[in-house]
Amino acid sequence: MNGVISNGFESWLAAPPGQLAGAGLDWLDDQRRVARERVREQGVPTSKTEDWRYTSLKGLLEQNFAQVDEAITALQPDDLEDILIPGLDSHRVVLVNGRYAPELSVLGDLPKGVRLGGLRTLLDADPDALRDRLNRIAGDRQPLFLALNTAGLDDGFVALFDRAAILERPIELIHLSVGMDEPRVAQPRHLVVLGDGAQATLIERYVSLGESLYCTNSVLEIALGRDAVLQHDRIQMESANAFHLTGLYLSQDTNSRYRGVNIGLGARWARTELVTRFRGEQAECDLQGLYLAGDRQLMDYHLDVAHSVPRCTSRENFKGILYGKGRAVFDGLVAVARDAQKSDAAMSNRNLMLSESAEVDTKPQLEINADDVKCSHGTTVGRIEPEMLFYLRSRGISAPLARRMLCLGFAGEIIQTLSAEALREHVSERVGQRLESAPLN
């Protein structure tokens, strides 16, 4: 924090050739300009920066990521074959390297009152629909990667639901990364707004073709109106060489319900920030998480849940499986304001360590300023129970399979909160595959 002008992210800020989406819209240009200033005034977080105490940016800074500057248009729908989940019937929106790819997307029939598609497209067609919504939930004092995303705000995914609009099938947002000649950073910006009483399921997937090196810095803002319901499955399976940053900024009005299931399997370095703000009473926010940190992989989760009004409920339930030299960070904060009586929060972080050299830093925090609340937190860091392993082996099951079964059993609690059976199978299978290739110690 010493006002460094060049802070290592200049290349992320360089103006891409051509114009950014909505260039000339004063409100948007202003937002981007303010964000650029925020980036410059902040400097690069160090190990002394509270939010970055356990996570080093060194590996990321060593890379010279250039901005994605051209749309990839060579992909055909057939190229998605290995990526699609069998049996998952969805309204599909595909982004390639952060850009909306209409030729790969299958929006399907949408009921009245539901708009889906690319951010840039909507900014061109109907900027007023976005004016009071975009960049509102994320707020002003934006931390570095959010500010970087806002400064380069250009394309992404938008879902706008009018009052009482209900979508039966899930929306599937596929964020596909394709390797380029040089390492690139994509910074998609997503916006989901559910009007009062609207209901939807969003499946957000991060996948790659190949195991290339790139960076994703995505930001998603979600606003839920009164009584709105959103199930949100997030499945991060980036390339094993990728860097992944994602920030979710959630605003919930009275009696709305949100459930987010965060599955983190991919990327070599992944940081997820989940920020929830209750705007009305009796809202419920359920954050579930499952991460696998394999050898030399980092999975970093930061939760910031603010109970600023009374009678809201939140759940934070994260589980991790670590092996090799895998590392994970769970830094969860639930803050209950003085007036937020009858708040109900339970935070839990449980970790299963499969090796001696894996490491987890877990720091659940409750900051409670009201007196009539129900709040709890707990963490565990454990190993596979020898008697469980013996029980399985005594039935003829090999030690590696027995370990996998126990890990999947541990993970199952989170996997079962995903919205669709096809998805649960897909994730279980991937978790199983990852564990199969994991060294036993």
């Binding site: 029980y391 399985l392 082996r393 039935r395 003829g396 099951i397 079964m405 999947l408 059993g409 199952g412």
Partner: protein
């Protein structure tokens, strides 16, 4: 089938099995009785290969193989089965998936074709009936939240499915109500055959009324101190263990 000679084993640096001789022939049913803490479960665990037991002397051969050199799963694949005194809960591990993994692991190790989903389910339904178990148990996690009796029945159900050559039942009768005891005993008896042997560890004559043993042994302080026919169990029921201990000392 099983021959144990001079077996000594330590747990946590303490000698628990202190020179145990024991053998089982094909089709035989042996009952092991003995006071709490005498080493019955330890013996069962050493035979099935649980970690944490240090064998310091003696040998155990099963089907001509050095049992003690094998991994637990290899012993199971050879046909050894332990019904646990305290079955382990496996939260999140689906019972059906578990049973299928177990059966197919054993079949595969024996070079036999694995069962597909349909024939597996058919087989499992058939075995469930024998033990009067509800099929809802199949959808649940292994032993998780099962009642004491359900856990014990689930052990015998697994035995029925895996069809071992030698089954060790460690106090399978404890915690069972009278009807359940009958069901379990019937299940065990249905599995008796001229090739299949059993070691039944129990404290009570009642189980042995149902499952009639060919031999009864008394284990005390890590040794078999008395062996006899099924009348020995009746004698023990009447007189307790003190009687043999005293005799043993006198001798």
């Amino acid at each position: 089938m099983l021959a144990v000679k001079g077996l000594k084993a330590n747990v946590g640096g303490k000698e628990i099995l202190r020179g145990l001789d024991f053998s089982v022939g094909p089709g035989e049913v042996h009952a092991i009785m003995g006071p709490n803490g005498s080493g019955k479960s330890t013996f069962a665990h050493v035979l099935s290969g649980r970690e944490g037991y240090e064998v310091t002397a003696g040998s155990a051969t099963f089907e001509g193989q050095d049992l003690l050199a094998l991994e637990p799963e290899e012993r199971a694949q050879l046909g050894l089965f332990l019904a646990f005194q305290y079955p382990v809960e496996l939260p999140g591990v689906n019972n059906t998936y578990f049973l299928k993994a177990a059966l197919n692991s054993i079949l595969k190790a024996r070079g036999q074709p694995e069962l597909d989903a349909v024939s597996f389910l058919r087989l499992i339904k058939e075995k469930l009936k024998i033990l009067h178990l509800d099929d809802s148990l199949l959808k649940r996690a292994v032993n998780a939240g099962f009642s004491g009796g359900e856990k014990k029945r689930n052990e015998i159900f697994q035995m029925a499915l895996l069809e071992p050559k030698l089954a060790i039942l460690d106090e399978t009768d404890s915690g069972l109500d009278i009807d359940a005891l009958r069901v379990v005993a019937d299940g065990v008896n249905a599995l008796r055959s001229p090739e299949r042997s059993m070691i039944v560890v129990t404290h009570y004559q009642r189980l042995l009324d149902y499952i009639q043993p060919d031999h009864v042994h008394v284990l005390s302080k890590g040794r078999i101190i008395r062996s006899g026919g099924k009348e020995l169990a009746l004698e023990l029921e009447e007189k307790g263990y003190g009687w043999i201990d005293a005799e043993g000392q006198a001798a």
